[in-house]
């Protein structure tokens, strides 16, 4: 009684391995229309389709940047968009050795009877949607489950429900040719210390891998997108080495070696923090059977966004900024980051944490 090996098994394994290539990582550019609106608002740009397209075009055509990127997660609208000279984004990515991915969840809803905990929706007709996305060129998918830390949280119900949702999503993706990125995000909000975050992360990951096993998910054809283990947002900060130690310990205890890659979310850390933490993890001399890399949204795009500010004349400069962050994180995945990639000033060190952040 083992994993479900369907017709896409070989392809899934190959794709997952490629995405986990040391020296490369994922650009999470799958902000929903609502969320990207917030980003654009922060630089006084209107949330219309052409602006959303301009931003994504800026990123995908940055000279040299894509060589550090193995995959890009897209929102549905973007999967079907083109550059200003009419080339489908999917083609641009594929030509540069970047695999297109697609966000497939339909957001979170509250779990009644809990203290504001949530579950993620999106399973109905997911199989059919995955087939369409595969046809459009996507080869991996992403589904974000969210858990929080509190006096009675995460509750057993929340853990079971979110783990189960991830497992159902994962097997349906694999049935339809998409590598599922499994994302159980434990939010940073709170005044707990790093030990509490570690304990919760371990419990959650254990439940997730039990559910994946119950649902016959082929682990070699998946990726994990966890939070790093850090103190709560209202607690004193600790250094990258401490974060690295607790995070890697948690993963070693819960993530089977069959999983080819762990691609961390940045969750509100500044660009520089996220890179330093990732680098520290890769410098640790302890057995890590999966590659440790990135799947960053804000932590790759923040400075780039500010530099662009929606103006055509800033595109080249913004793209140069983007390249800097991509290379920095690429170095971090092999433990070779020298620091100071924050060359473009304070933006890279700016915390991106928002209390009670609604994705």
């Amino acid at each position: 009684m083992s994993a479900f090996v369907g017709k896409y098994a070989d392809e899934l394994i190959k794709t997952a391995k490629y995405i986990a290539t040391p020296g490369k990582g994922i650009l999470a550019a799958d902000e929903s229309t609502g969320t990207i609106g917030k980003r654009l608002a922060s630089i006084n740009v209107e949330n219309i389709e052409s602006n959303r397209q301009s931003l994504r075009e800026l990123l995908f055509t940055s000279p040299g940047a894509l060589s550090y990127i193995s995959g890009v997660i897209l929102f549905e609208e973007t999967l079907y968009q083109k550059t200003s000279d009419g080339k489908p984004f999917v083609d641009v990515l594929e030509e540069n050795g970047v695999i297109p991915g697609i966000k497939v969840d339909k957001g979170v809803v509250e779990l009644a009877g809990t203290n504001g905990e949530t579950t993620t929706q999106g399973l109905d007709s997911l199989g059919q949607r995955c087939q369409q996305y595969y046809k459009a060129g996507a080869r991996f998918a992403k589904w974000r489950a969210v858990l929080k830390i509190g006096p009675t949280e995460p509750s057993e119900l929340s853990i079971q429900e979110n783990a189960k949702g991830l497992a159902r999503y994962a097997i349906i993706c694999q049935e339809n040719g998409l590598v599922p990125i499994v994302e159980p995000e434990v939010l940073t909000d709170g005044n707990h210390d790093i030990k509490k975050c570690a304990a919760v992360t371990e419990t959650v990951l254990a439940a997730v891998y039990k559910a994946l096993n119950d649902h016959h998910v082929l682990l070699e054809g998946t990726l994990l997108k966890p939070n790093m283990v850090t103190p709560g947002s209202d607690s004193p900060k600790v250094g990258p080495e401490v974060i690295a130690e607790y995070t890697v310990a948690a993963l070693r205890r819960t993530v089977p070696p069959a999983v080819p890659g762990v691609v961390f979310l940045s969750g509100g850390q500044s660009e520089e923090e996220a890179t330093l933490n990732l680098d520290a993890m890769n410098k640790l001399e302890v057995l890590k059977p999966w590659t440790l890399s990135f799947s960053f949204g804000r932590a790759l795009q923040q400075s780039t966004l500010k530099t662009w500010a929606g103006k055509k004349e800033n595109v080249t400069k913004a793209q140069a900024t983007f390249l800097v962050r991509c290379k920095a994180n690429s170095d971090a995945t092999i433990g070779k980051y020298a620091g100071g990639g924050a060359g473009t000033g304070s933006a890279a060190s700016e915390s991106l944490f928002e209390k009670g952040y609604k994705y």
Binding site: A3, F4, G6, K106, V109, A112, G113, T114, Q121, G122, L123, D124, S125, G127, P151, T152, E153, P154, S155, E156, L157, I159, Q160, E161, K164, R168, I171, I172, Q174, E175, I194, K195, K196, A198, A199, V200, E202, T203, D214, H215, H216, V217, V229, E245, Y246, V248, A249, A250, R252, L284, E285, V286
Partner: protein
């Protein structure tokens, strides 16, 4: 560096015991009883009871589970209704579906025997052929309107050709809308197949889906009917059915508890414990009753107000006889029926799509409804049953 590895090995990021006993969230429960004992934090077991709809849910469930009454299941999807209409040579149009459902719900005095009617979404928003809202007609008949909320079965990967039930996305808002329209109970049907295992995954998936649906329904004012149908298909013995049913119900109630479902505000729709349809063994109504009641006593908490059996392919008369046998003694829950084919079959054939047959068809519906009403009271005698009513309705590999 050796020191770093040593730190990783030594560092034991586990909470102090005093910290986690208070909030039981990090403990892995292996039994519901253990969960209750260890629970010290603000009790989630009471949150549901103070939910806005709690009293109404209890009242509705009790009304549906009233003596001498049961449920008319008329929630066939358009596709399934099409099959019914085709069997009497009618086209599957909205008008024909409307005519048929009008016939059913306007049967005079139906509310004496029928406490609830499960509708398909189209019907909930429809009017009868003389322009009154279906839900209004039902209420006037003293019949509680219910609504099918699942979105059907799809194949379950990694299982032995089994299925799982969809429908949770947006269920909260759909349920709220149905409540606005007049529905007061909901139904979700998932299936378990004995010839295909059932696999542990299929059972777990079925039970968890039911539990989530039940929790969401209650939060939006609808009494959930919990239906894990153990299909009749197969050659298995009645003992094997019993074994599987025990496992399924244990898991269902465990997950209902985990999801904080209020048992006083649910109804169950189980299959009776019988041999498989293709088994060489046949069981008498007394045997079916004996096995089924034993199962229920072992697995169903007395807080559940009503158990409304599905007929699953039995003939109209079989379904009535079995129900009658189960009501020869007193039970801690109302033991009744939620029949579709076993109430409608003869009625449909009698109608044949002709307006001049409407009254006769309604009469046959009332005959069956009354027969099952008597069976609920343990007073059914089986006199005067027609041959049609005795015909089995099992269809191998029946897709609902």
């Amino acid at each position: 560096m050796a020191s770093t590895s040593a730190t990783l090995l030594k560092a034991s990021p586990v909470l102090e015991k005093s910290e986690w006993v208070k909030g039981q969230s990090l403990l892995r429960q292996t039994s519901f009883v253990a969960a209750v004992r260890r629970h010290v934090a603000p009790s989630r077991l009471t949150v549901r009871a103070s939910s806005a709809y709690a009293d109404e849910l209890v009242k509705t469930a009790k009304t549906i589970a009233s003596p001498g009454r049961g449920i008319l299941a008329m929630d066939e999807s358009n596709a399934t209704c099409g099959k019914r209409l085709a069997s009497i040579g009618l086209e599957n149009t909205e008008a024909n579906r409307q005519a048929y459902r009008t016939l059913l719900i306007t049967a005079p005095g139906l509310g004496q025997y029928i406490s609830g009617a499960i509708l398909f979404e189209e019907t909930l928003y429809q009017s009868t052929t003389d322009g009154r809202k279906m839900v209004d007609v039902l209420s006037e008949q003293n019949i509680v309107p219910g609504i099918k909320v699942d979105k059907g079965l799809v194949p379950l990967a990694g299982s032995n050709n089994e299925s799982w039930c969809q429908g949770l996305d947006g269920l909260a808002s759909r349920s709220a809308a149905y409540y606005q329209q007049g529905a007061r109970f909901a139904k979700w049907r998932t299936v378990v197949s004995i010839p295909n295992g059932p696999s542990a995954l299929a059972v777990k998936e079925a039970a968890w889906g039911l539990a989530r649906y039940a929790a969401i329904s209650q939060d939006n004012g609808l009494v959930p009917i919990v239906e894990p149908e153990i299909l009749l298909d197969g050659e298995h013995s009645i003992d094997r059915t019993y074994e599987v049913a025990e496992k399924v119900w244990a898991e269902v109630f465990f997950y209902l508890a985990q999801n904080n479902v209020m048992f006083e505000g649910i109804l169950l729709k189980p299959s009776m414990v019988t041999p498989g349809a293709e088994s060489k063994d046949r069981a008498t109504p007394e045997q079916v009753a004996s096995y089924t009641l034993k199962l229920l006593r072992n697995r169903i908490p007395p807080a559940v107000p009503g158990i409304m059996f599905l007929s699953g392919g039995q003939s109209e008369v079989e379904a009535t006889l079995n129900l009658n046998a189960m009501n020869q003694g007193s039970n801690p829950w109302h033991v009744s029926f939620s029949y579709a084919r076993a109430l409608q079959n003869t009625c449909l054939k009698t109608w044949g799509g002709r307006p001049e047959n409407v009254k006769a068809a309604q009469d046959t519906l009332l005959v069956r409804a009354q027969a099952n009403s008597l069976a609920q009271l343990g007073k059914y005698t089986g006199e005067g049953e027609s041959e049609e009513a005795k015909k089995g309705m099992f269809v191998k590999g029946y897709t609902y």
